[in-house]
Symmetry: none
Subunit: 413 residues, 2 copies
Amino acid sequence: MSAEIICVGTELLLGDIVNTNVQFLAKELANLGIPHYYQTVVGDNPTRLKEVINIASNRASILLFTGGLGPTPDDLTTETIAQCFNCPLVEKAEIIEDIQRKFAARGRQMNENNRKQALIPEGATILPNPTGTAPGIIWEPAPNLTIMTFPGVPSEMKRMWAETAIAHLKSQGWGKEVIFSRMLRFRGIGESALATKVNRFFDLTNPTVAPYASLGEVRLRISTKTASESQANSIIEPIAQEIIKIAGADYFGKDDDTLSEVVGTLLREKQQTVAVAESCTGGGLGTMFTDIAGSSDYFWGGVIAYDNRVKMSLLGVGSEALKAHGAVSDIVAQQMALGVKQRLNTSWGISITGIAGPGGGTEIKPVGLVYIGIADPDGQVDSIECTFGDRDRPIIRYLSSCTALDQLRRKLI
Amino acid sequence: MSAEIICVGTELLLGDIVNTNVQFLAKELANLGIPHYYQTVVGDNPTRLKEVINIASNRASILLFTGGLGPTPDDLTTETIAQCFNCPLVEKAEIIEDIQRKFAARGRQMNENNRKQALIPEGATILPNPTGTAPGIIWEPAPNLTIMTFPGVPSEMKRMWAETAIAHLKSQGWGKEVIFSRMLRFRGIGESALATKVNRFFDLTNPTVAPYASLGEVRLRISTKTASESQANSIIEPIAQEIIKIAGADYFGKDDDTLSEVVGTLLREKQQTVAVAESCTGGGLGTMFTDIAGSSDYFWGGVIAYDNRVKMSLLGVGSEALKAHGAVSDIVAQQMALGVKQRLNTSWGISITGIAGPGGGTEIKPVGLVYIGIADPDGQVDSIECTFGDRDRPIIRYLSSCTALDQLRRKLI
């Protein structure tokens, strides 16, 4: 017993839109504990759609369709499904009335094209669409096979899912056991290095532990399937604690925690404030701090010192340091951090200076070389050298800001 | 002859991430004129992946895989593909060396886990990954069947596609007649208002003209399918020029032009410089300016004045203005713009002060109220009031920075 999601739409094959529908449905299926092994996208082509339906109905027991329910001739999902099961279509008077009412409410008349949206397979029930003109269906064309169709418009699909589909699936017995998971998030350690440290947890079967890597961050997901959240917590929590202990300072948060949120919480707890001095990131670190609503409690501002004249005039960086060591150096990073802390009168000052590329690199100072300076509440200044390698400019800038936040986090814990 | 995209990753089935890779590849296939009828997502499960490969290799001649190339035990794409075609894996010394070099460049040691990333099917060639440790393969395991694999990390996949995959597909004869299109980009006008102005172009068949709307921006895509770019240009250019003339100052650029690029080009032409003073955007406007490599020619820096004390100390905003009008006001925006221009000694000063929400709004000054100030080279100061409405914080911040850039653009043209 598993579900399969089938998204119908040539616009998906042309890459005109991102398929957010499939992500939404995937998450919802996971929440209901419905296993789901395949997602298929196919264009508005009845022959190929039929092939997809035949394959899917042999390997899944719930087929969820999105797209192809509109009024235009290329919207063929409903009739193609019916054909696959040799079932005639019947016109539903209540759908026609509903469409007419919706048109009337917008001061318009129903178009003849819309009449086709009232045709559904004989024996199917209507999956009502409260906002749009395209209803879906709930249909069991064969034993152990449930078909549900949704329009491609995300807002309509989501509301139909929430208001009708979930209840139907629960009536089939789903949703009694649900997948709960916790994501543990790590910085400053690579995927394989972390995997080596926590290797033994990957063999667990309940909960399961699986690694994910994304830019500058590694995550471990701990999952279990249970009837209640408290039961899930009692299974997940001990494993989470063991892993967090092993990871030490590299663990920074869980689930939707962001670095700037975690750092913000630490600063608020200590009633400390911070200011930034940014060169190559040009405001990216300040943006991350202020992503968080309420960050004015601890983030006061900073200086974007892109040009060396600004480093000198607003941050007090010495012209000798710039001449002797260059703007991308430990000493300038330190002077920037201390300068912004002193001028803005905050507990902490953090600076970033580096070569984001693609130009500007030399053999001694290549693209990706970045210095991060931190001035602490006692006025002590520290800096680290990062080598992010010859990567794309936005990536180097993003990693620079993240690393600066992470350095501050490590000093705060 | 058609392509099929197969994305491997349990995180996609769980809905943890949006599948932007498939959209990118779909667009690229369309650009090369390669037909593409199916997209499949499957988890990190060798049995099911095999089934998917069997189905796909019977209906497509180019299979593009993303995901499952990492160093952990659940990354199984390469070995599963090899098994489908009964082909042994061989270890490539050059991959090991490349991985070791990348680890060394980041001051780390290669992990034993990474060794599996050097295993590729006998007879396959390496699809180099310039930035990450997971190379892909280009392989023809059977006549008329090309397999290419890419890691799931979007930035790595995209670079491998651009640097290697496209050339390989062109060498197979693809990309002779391709869809050429020009995207015209507009700011400060709504989709329906623009559509009304250029209505008559929507009936054209060659080129076709279609509207797209995104946050704060409207685009018109002019497309034609031809053998050469010059031929495409001769079809597209006259229509583009007509539309640009009709749109006037609301047209800001084409294709991948960004607002900050367009503004940067204008500043460079005039040999003028700019500095920013940001409150609610916290560095977002500076980040946009410095997204552009070489922006140091005209962007000198700025002040992130999140706290009012910073507005006063670093920008010279008067305490009377703050008391009488509040930080979110025309007069404070103007003082910030003039202050940063004078202190950084640039041609232009731009400021942003507003209420990004979700908290902090009042009846008189609701969430979404933003003032943008501009001080021009003559020292004249101007400001505008924007009401972005009760939208999400990141959206209000993004629209604020875009509008500030657009205001400067309108002053520069």
